[in-house]
Symmetry: C2
Subunit: 196 residues, 2 copies
């Protein structure tokens, strides 16, 4: 098992047919997740397109996770958690923490994405809306969103199976100012492994 350290990101390459098992080791950690076509950084997993293809904002076990070209780039093959993963909230960034009152630099998922991609030499720019694994954002009928705590348990995992050669990026979200990473607001590490 490999580690995504608390507050950091990791990018990995998957060949079509391989999968990544992502483990919420402590049960409280949100993992912002992206996928890019390995042959074309202009194609990436896209939440607004996913909403149309699923007819839902909550992907479930067995669902194809589509790209901005509306084909499945990953499949959510297994999910041992209650299935609450956010798809409507942007990755955090320096501006987000400034708006919450942070005056200095704060680790953030957007910078983690770009740092992780740079490390493997993958030329994607921009920051697509991520699949926020275990981030619990209920949406009320009037449209209001709530910043809930994860419903997952220690050891819960998801398996994402690559449908094409792709780059998957994980960021152990550094959010410690609101309780999306649990009521203690302490970001922690998660683990993953590649499955053939």
């Amino acid at each position: 098992m490999e580690t995504v350290p608390a507050r950091r990101g990791r990018a990995v390459r998957l060949s079509a047919g391989q999968a990544i098992r992502i483990v919420n080791t402590h049960g409280t950690q949100v993992v912002d997740t992206w996928a890019f076509n390995a042959a074309d950084p202009g194609e990436f997993m896209s939440m607004p397109h996913l909403h149309a293809s699923l007819g839902s904002v909550f992907p479930a076990k067995g669902d194809g996770l589509v790209s901005n070209r509306r084909r499945a780039i990953l499949v959510l093959e297994e999910d041992t958690s209650p299935g609450r993963h956010d798809t409507v909230i942007a990755a955090c960034d320096v501006h987000r923490y400034q708006s919450l009152g942070c005056s200095g630099y704060h680790d953030n998922c957007t910078d983690n994405l770009h740092a992780a991609l740079a490390l493997i030499g993958f030329p994607a720019t921009g920051c697509p809306a991520p699949l926020n694994l275990w981030m619990n954002i209920p949406i009320a009928a009037d449209g209001r969103v709530a910043w809930g705590e994860p419903l997952s348990s220690p050891g819960d995992f998801v398996i994402l199976r690559a449908q094409i050669d792709c780059v998957v990026v994980l960021s152990a979200c550094p959010q410690d100012m609101i309780p999306i990473n649990g009521k203690d607001c302490i970001p922690v590490e998660v683990h993953f492994e590649i499955l053939d």
Copy 2:
């Protein structure tokens, strides 16, 4: 008043302080709407960032519509309609119509965006998730989305006030295979004017 013809797009430049009044002339037409920083196509109105800034998926009168740098690029200054505008569904594209069973080319909002931008020589690429004016997409507690008919009436309008120099793009959505543009599935024209 200027016209966005049925199934087509238009791009206009707004200086900071100017506004655009967009009129749902027949009351049934969805208008996919984008905004880009005129000085930097890498900054654009972003729905995933808006959800975090508003704490809601439904923007209301007075709300700032933020960019991917989390500052207001437009303000929703007036809205005479019931306020149901979608922010979670991607712009339609050729792939969407193929998935609905269309075998040939179908007009679509993604191509309308790029054609409209090309006409004014603005170099934005990609297709950010649009603000889908009057598109009525209820989200149930279990996450399911419904493809509703607009709740607006003929002549309903919104006013969007530019907070920075920007390019605003409108697409009169060509969707005629599901009833988001009214139960008759007939896309029609809308109108707009620039206000100082």
